[in-house]
Amino acid sequence: MTQNKPNIQSYIKIENNEIVLNGTSAFKTEPTDFADFAKQAYRNFEMQYPKFFKMDALSKLAFLGSELLLSPITSTEDENNIALVLANKSSSLDTDVKYQESISDKENYFPSPAVFVYTLPNICLGEISIRHQLKSENSFFIFDAFNGEFLSNYSNILLNTNKADLVLCGWTEFFNDNYKAFLCIISAAENENYKNENINTLYHK
């Protein structure tokens, strides 16, 4: 597949208890687990969205990243045609395992509906769409490893075929409290700040 260079407008990375927005550290905590880190980040950015606390870890990770990228550019009055293209390695396995554990004892069989609803990775796309009122294209892919070339090409196809005005794409991986998110906004127009960058170079920075 030939890489079609994406026009990156902004990007965010979340890993190791830190959020880096456009190359600058925006939030950092002392070493802690993801649940605590996510709660502190939510409070720090005053996100005002109580449903956040009902989400599973993968959705919280995707939500935190998308919130900081989308909030400055989405409008509450106009329709935002921003496609969502995310990928990861572990799908929703972290929640799948928790759910499986909750139903493994036949003597204590009380499956939780609130956990069950997160046993699909693309639920995090729904959470982002609900938050920002997006009725746009969205897809979630599973790869063995980060695949910047695929994300670039897929995003550019959506832009070039007028399926979207902007694309939020990236990697949201979570399993056993190990996590990494890399999200970026891609547009048809070039941004001088990132004209020498592509998704792979920013992901590995």
Partner: protein
């Protein structure tokens, strides 16, 4: 009955991850859905699980939930009258 209401408030806050709500914030007659606590349809299913798991009450007809889950008051009354554990 007062102890049961307190217990229910704690269970609801913990089970439904109502992070920004304290027991004192929930009045006995506050609506649990809509303008009250703002619970949603998945929360309603979790309340049905609480009835089953903690009080031994199996709701055969989910439509019953509408009246049972109106408030902490109605929940506590129903549980008191029907609990098996």
């Amino acid at each position: 009955m007062e102890a049961l209401k307190e217990e229910l408030k704690n269970k609801i806050i913990t089970t439904l991850n109502l992070e920004d709500i304290a027991v004192e914030d929930i009045a006995d007659n506050d609506p649990l859905f809509g303008d009250g606590l703002g619970l949603d349809s998945i929360d309603a299913l979790e309340l049905i699980v609480i009835l089953d798991k903690d009080y031994g009450i199996k709701l055969v007809d989910p439509k019953e939930g509408k009246s049972i889950f109106q408030s902490i008051e109605t929940m506590a009354s129903y549980i008191s009258a029907n609990r098996t554990k």
